[in-house]
């Protein structure tokens, strides 16, 4: 298992991406698009934690871990800020004309689009967001 912990600040975002890149490069069969998908999902999730999760608090830690399990990759993001339910944010309107196009809401949508399974649990020990990314031989 690969794991790093960084503070919940925007300056940690590039560090998480670099770490994912490094971890993926050590495993064969993980192409650039899969790496990008993982970086994107993690980036969006961490951005949410950083901008909302620790709001009103002295920011704490975000723990990122990756497990490569052959047929899939499991990513876990743990934080200790306010809990927030991923499902509650409405999906962005992709068909809207330019004037009506919303400027927000894409973050979660990208997570849903790039990851195969998402699980979110919250308890007094922290919030845990887990993604499963399946590794298929053919492009999905």
């Amino acid at each position: 298992m690969h794991q790093i912990t960084r503070s919940a600040e925007l300056t940690s975002l590039p560090e998480f991406r670099k770490y994912i890149n490094l971890a993926c490069s050590h495993h064969s069969g993980i192409d650039k698009q899969i790496t990008y998908d993982l970086q994107l999902a993690v980036d969006e999730a961490c951005t949410n934690i950083i901008t909302h999760g620790y709001q009103g608090m002295n920011p704490g830690s975000i723990i990122l871990s990756l497990e490569f399990k052959g047929a899939y990759i499991e990513v876990t993001i743990t934080d200790f800020g306010h809990a927030f339910e991923p499902i509650q944010t409405p999906a962005p309107d992709l068909e809207a004309g330019l004037e009506d196009r919303p400027t927000g809401g894409f973050g979660l949508y990208f997570i849903y689009q790039t990851m195969d399974e998402i699980e979110y649990t919250t308890n007094p020990y922290g919030n845990r967001l887990t993604f499963i990314k399946k590794l298929e031989s053919a492009v999905g």
């Binding site: 994107l40 951005t47 927000g104 894409f106």
Partner: protein, 112 residues
């Protein structure tokens, strides 16, 4: 993230390199806003050297696109790498703005 501005005709080229994420996107937004306010309303956003873009980057692009069009101009994208291109496709941005393989083609499109 670095930004290079090249004054050309019939559009100007904004070359971005690095990552456009929640940490850096506001720099891009402010830069584009400034240029547009100085009447640079036809822009090619050259993303050839952008290795990563998240939804924060999209917000930046969208804000600039709206500003350009409100002033009678346009913003077009050139050279997006596969990962960034997928982000543009997933968000449906490929429906609302034009994307080109390189900035020469993007520039030429402004002449039509």
């Amino acid at each position: 993230m670095d930004i290079n501005f090249l004054e050309k005709h019939p559009a100007d080229i904004v070359q971005v390199s690095g990552s456009v994420d929640a940490l850096t996107a506001s720099v891009l937004t402010d830069f584009l806003s400034l240029k547009i306010s100085q009447d640079h309303t036809n822009l090619v956003l050259d993303l050839n050297q952008v290795e990563f873009m998240s939804s924060a980057g999209l917000r930046s692009v969208l804000a600039a696109l709206k500003e350009c069009r409100n002033k009678g101009g346009d913003l077009r994208i050139a050279g997006a790498q596969p990962g960034v291109e997928k982000v543009l496709k997933m968000s449906g941005f490929t429906n609302i703005l034009k994307i080109f393989p390189d900035s020469e083609n993007a520039l030429a499109s402004f002449s039509n």
